[in-house]
Symmetry: C3
């Protein structure tokens, strides 16, 4: 694949400073890019490195550039421009369409045009797979599950019976969608816990992406929902009947307990835990490792366990580290006070 800088300006939608005729053959990182490669700078502080960068072209944040600083493509969003360049030079490596002879696809499943189903995948009766969706080896798609168009389902994923996946959804290896929610009640007659049947489904809307080894439990009744455009990182747990809004960002190893409602555009840092049956308001942000034990207002920024407004948590955390000092000071004050009291006695 070859593109001139001029062609890349057109693809990325940027503004050219420098020589548009230079030929580019690949993308590379800032440190490693050579003359035939394109790279990018996101952070304006790094622009001072420009003279030492050997890249054939550099995508830079919009600004006032002088000729001679290299072949620059200035744009409002260098990450997105670079993503477009990546798509040109390093397109995704996906298997071609067709059902592998070693896949097990029920005669009563419905498979759209251009679908790719790889070896040892299982598609049960009543399941639907939309056009151009790719199903990697060893995937399990349960009875009556519905998967939309242009999805990528990587190896080892399980999508259990009845679950619904929208269009352009990506699910990474070994993720589990639709496992039973965690519900039991102590039953004296059994002298043990009785399983509360989990007969709802999971619904994942368009344009979501789920990382590897994510678990999303099916609802007891009704639906566990992940709203369109939301992105979920590896090893996240989403319990039964959770409703996640649109365009949420949930970082690795977060755990969300049952029936929580996560609003639109919420951002949740890694390893956060959220207790059941509460609301996280639209646009809220939650710091990594926080423990959320009550509702979080819209657009609030919370941290800590139990979580409090982030700014307060930062201030309290600084003092936490100084508790031994503080305690010493209190003891000293007490001594000085006792001395005064003694003199007055």
């Amino acid at each position: 694949m070859k593109k001139t800088v001029e062609q890349l300006v057109e693809i990325t939608g940027g503004r050219l400073i420098g020589d548009g005729n230079v030929v580019i053959r690949d993308v590379a990182s800032l440190e490693e890019a050579g003359p035939g490669e394109i790279t990018f700078i996101l952070d304006k502080a790094k622009l001072k490195l420009l003279p030492s960068i050997k890249a054939g072209a550099i995508i830079v944040p919009e600004g006032d550039y002088q000729p001679g600083a290299g072949n620059l493509i200035a744009t409002r969003n260098p990450q997105i421009a670079f993503a477009k360049a990546m798509d040109v030079f390093r397109p995704a490596l996906l298997p071609g369409p067709g059902i592998h002879p070693k896949a097990e696809v029920s005669a009563r499943a419905s498979v759209g045009e251009g679908v790719s189903i790889q070896a040892y995948a299982v598609v049960e009766k009543g399941a639907t797979i939309g056009p151009r969706t790719v199903v990697y080896p060893g995937v399990y798609i349960g009875q009556d599950a519905r998967i939309g168009a242009d999805c990528i389902i990587y190896s080892g994923v399980a999508i259990r019976e009845g679950c619904i996946i929208g269009d352009r959804v990506i699910v990474h290896c070994n993720t589990v969608i639709g496992s039973d929610g965690f519900g039991y009640a102590w039953d004296n007659d059994l002298n043990g816990y009785r399983k509360l049947p989990q007969r709802g489904i999971v619904r994942i809307d368009d344009d979501c992406e789920l990382g590897a080894c994510v678990t999303v439990d099916r609802a007891a009744i009704g639906e566990t929902v992940i709203g369109s455009g939301s992105k979920i990182d590896n090893l996240v747990q989403v319990a039964h009947n959770v409703k996640i809004g649109e365009h949420a960002i949930i970082v690795a190893q977060v755990g969300i307990a049952g029936s929580v409602r996560v609003g639109d555009r919420v951002q949740i840092g890694g390893q956060v835990g959220i207790v059941g049956h509460i609301d996280i308001g639209d646009g809220a942000m939650i710091g990594a490792q926080s423990g959320i034990s009550g509702p979080v207002p819209s657009k609030a920024i919370y941290s800590g366990t139990p979580a409090i407004p982030h700014h307060d948590w930062l201030k309290a955390s600084v003092i936490f580290a100084k508790l031994p000092e503080l305690k010493k000071k209190i003891n000293e004050l007490e001594k000085r006070l006792a001395e005064i009291e003694g003199k007055k006695g």
Copy 2:
């Protein structure tokens, strides 16, 4: 499936208030239930909603009900009564018995009556599968592993060599039972870590349920044990030689380090971490995200990192949030004290 309210009264073991002849065809949530559906109320505070509920029948906690509030089934445990109604209207969707021609079952494995083994499952030599157990696609059952009767092993589960699973055990997708424990010793001769062989097994007793993507490591020597009736949520880590008692409840993403003993009926909240080689006493409860670095007495309730009695932790946490205030007050006291000391000097 159709049942009259009277028939459901018999199935659930409740007491009828209202019309026993109404026909019910499905279960539904409180919000969504219509005339042909049965729902339930767990929380007495919600009984005031009764007049507005459209359900054909409502399971309610035992109490003093007047006719006219709908068709009620009063019972000591509405969750269990509703679970029985769920089993009637929405039975589990399990594959029928038989070994799929695309499963790979060793001629030297022993498979009980009525077993279902689905496509691409592997059962190694010497393994035993009890009557009526269901093995979903892509499951791996290692050499000499023993699985009891009436189990459900969902897709992608691995049960490694020699591990023992009791009766009526449910294991959700992609869970791993019997992976090697995490044990190494630095070896100067190798100038690196030497692996300490892990040659014990995992034993999971009757009526346990393990969520999705759970990992239970085999013992170094001897057994890692999960006692009968215990329930383990998604993404939990159980290290080598851990012994979990009966009827324990372990919520998602908990990590239990090596050789811990968890007593009977212990309840562990989500994302808790437990350091190795300690005892958690029978009936203890541990708050979500706690870090347990020492033994926990029977029936104690602990929280925090390091964990302390839950009540103390709650009180300390409230003050943590006010540390900046507290520090200010101390500084102010110091100033006032210095003033008095100055006047006296």
Copy 3:
């Protein structure tokens, strides 16, 4: 398998005290070892149990032993000596060489001598598998992936396209290597997040071991690296472009965010979270559940969230539990001070 104590002395490299002619047939734990079994004592405090131990031979830490205390094998490192005895009596149970007829190995893959590829494993075109490596059922090895010699890849593992695994690497069930890194940028044109393509790889060097359900994301560009001899426990998350040094020990459920550099011989306790783009210096140790939000110096020991030096954290944690007491004392001091001020007014 039978060995005399004398033969075991030779195998383990220890020093004999007692009868070298006794025959040993198996290993056992300290509590359970009988006359035909060998066991070990690591902790010198347990040497006082020697008279009551029934084992045929006991590996003990080097010291001054009198005859009559049993058949002892004294050595500087009892764990390693015992590991060598384990390898004799309980060798790993691995399948023999050969490609199973129900494996799907591309004609354009390269498979070394003595390789074992089990049923329903998939090896894509361009992939390389080194001599004597064992690939268990249901493993997925993507296009152009390269796996070294003498590796063990357990069932359900995914090694995605282009990733590189060294020699003698062990990967436990359902671990995912090379899933896409978690990278998005908000795109106003899409009114949603745009996926930033992740086109780098994962490189895992010689002698590493990864637990079950571990996720290691491929780099955006370049490599995510796990250095030789490093050991990673179950359910750990390693994000894109992380570089882990040699001989690191990373305990279960740790999460390491993007572009972190973890030095050589670093030890990270369970459930630790590390924020992106920072350095953990060589030989640093991080306490379980810590939240690392800034760089950690070489050989430092850190704990807490946000993490501080471990010793300071311990002291502050003790006072945290006593915050209610401290607050009471401050209020009392204030009262006493006000009284004095009043008298002076």
